[in-house]
Symmetry: C2
């Protein structure tokens, strides 16, 4: 029976200026998965280590995403999926996306690559919908494609791979509190003023240009969120203080990773990232809430076979 | 007395996907201006040919923009401005922007370039405010800088020069009807849904990426306007029919130039542009409204001295 072992990276979605559209993959945080052919004509989740998650295929994001792919092919071939979960569910760094994207990537490899990357993104979004109540692609796209990705359009689905300036370095702080994606979505205002919409749109356009031009000043000026951050940051203890500390340490920007509670800082260079990590840690220690702190480069490749 | 003669190009603002943010300069349509030192310590509009426009400095967009620059310098030097107007005011291809940008560009040259391009954009926006009731920079920026420009932010003002894919070719149809910028602004909805704001933002991000990647499919997919076009296009006779004809002719996109009434089509290559021009003309001829039809390349340089 053929099998594949892979690494599915954690991802940061929204990235301040690109709500539901922009995301990037992390290098040093991610899940391992093993996918193996079976002869029972079923897709099964046979092992989950590291976290308590549903084992029923239809209740598991990897299962749902995998079924979407297999149903499209109309194949009888069955597979077993083992998930070695390192990314904590509900952390805001794409835990469900890694499982969903890992499943469809692995199945596609074992089946002889019948599907394109963009089709895999669409299948993986079916898994995301199970977790978050809405199909969004700004975690699964960078998980599958690596680097920075932009969802140019959801309907029809079109994903653009963006360049990653070399010096970018990331700090993630994950407070050990629970913020469900669906709850975070309920906090959003459903209407924005045209003026604010225009401003926010300019930041996303500027950020995209900054990635192409290696313009760190432009990236910093564009890492702004006038749509979502003020509503959602109330769920994250010490958010404003951490943000001030990160920017004072020289970070290009600081914001909520996905729907939180994780926060991220994008920095130019490892030294500033280290300094920023120290500064954020110093602030958050005062809350007495447990947390994980990650330092990572941007992962240019996305999912890789091991 | 030193003088400068210059060409200030017409410009297309909004460009479907970048309301108030995105614009580009035209090659074959524009005004000529002559700016000459005088010894009366005043900025004067001494001649306007081609159109009826106010001669009083404070009532003329070139005068207002020029005064903004001179006041900042606190200079006593006076200048005379002659405007040879080829761009019809109210046409929607940056007539006021050309006058305002031309004035500040010429004054800056004669004064030894005390100001940066971005400062010139800010001065020229003062002239635009006189014409349109709001300071917007998506015409003056491409007029001054050439090519495609993005206003990443108005406050602080930050303008990004974007690359221009070589094959881009433009068709402009200017119906001889009057649409005042201020009236067109009053037609806008002041609120948009977050969903629509996100979608539109993705189109702008995609368009910016498309310019960097020479990806004409991506440009075509991104030349969409869900914010403004449906409200404003009712002012433009046969808009929907022209749009359908342009897209059927292979145009990448078709939309309102600025606040109208001019419409533009962006095309890949001169041949498709010619075919598109014919198709639009054919549709608009049925309205029996007089019009101008321009074909132009994108102007990479912006204002130039003659």
């Amino acid at each position: 029976m053929r099998s594949i072992t892979l690494f599915a990276p954690a991802t940061v979605a929204n990235v301040s200026c690109g709500f539901d559209l922009l995301g990037f993959a992390l290098e040093s945080v991610g899940d391992q998965m093993l996918i193996r052919e079976n002869n029972v004509n079923q897709l099964r989740i046979t092992k989950i280590e590291g976290q308590m998650l549903p084992m029923q295929t239809e209740q598991n994001v990897a299962g749902v995403a995998g079924l979407a792919l297999l149903n499209q092919l109309n194949t009888k071939q069955g597979f077993d999926i083992e998930i070695y979960k390192k990314i904590k569910p509900g952390s805001g760094i794409g835990s469900s996306a890694a499982s969903a994207a890992g499943a469809v990537f692995g199945l596609n490899e074992l089946l002889g690559k019948p599907f394109s990357s963009i089709e895999l993104v669409a299948f993986a979004m079916k898994g995301e919908a199970l977790a978050g109540g809405a199909e969004h692609g700004d975690n699964v796209a960078p998980c599958l494609l690596g680097g920075f990705t932009l969802i140019q359009s959801y309907n029809p689905l079109r994903v653009v791979s963006l360049p990653t300036p070399e010096a970018l370095s990331v700090v993630i702080l994950h407070p050990q509190i629970e913020v469900k994606t669906a709850d975070a979505r309920n906090l959003l205002k459903q209407q924005v003023s045209l003026k604010k919409a225009v401003r926010q749109s300019g930041y996303l356009g500027g950020f995209v240009a900054g990635l192409f031009q290696n313009d760190y000043d432009l990236l910093a000026a564009s890492l702004r969120d006038e749509w979502v951050e003020s509503s959602r940051s109330v769920l994250i203890p010490a958010f404003d203080e951490m943000k001030a500390a990160a920017l004072a340490s020289g970070a290009l920007g600081f914001g909520i990773s996905g729907s939180g509670p994780s926060v991220f800082a994008l920095c130019k260079g490892v030294e500033i990232a280290k300094k920023t990590a120290q500064a954020i840690r110093h602030v958050f220690d005062k809350t007495a809430i447990p947390y994980d702190l990650h330092h990572s480069e941007v992962n240019p490749q996305g999912i890789k076979t091991l």
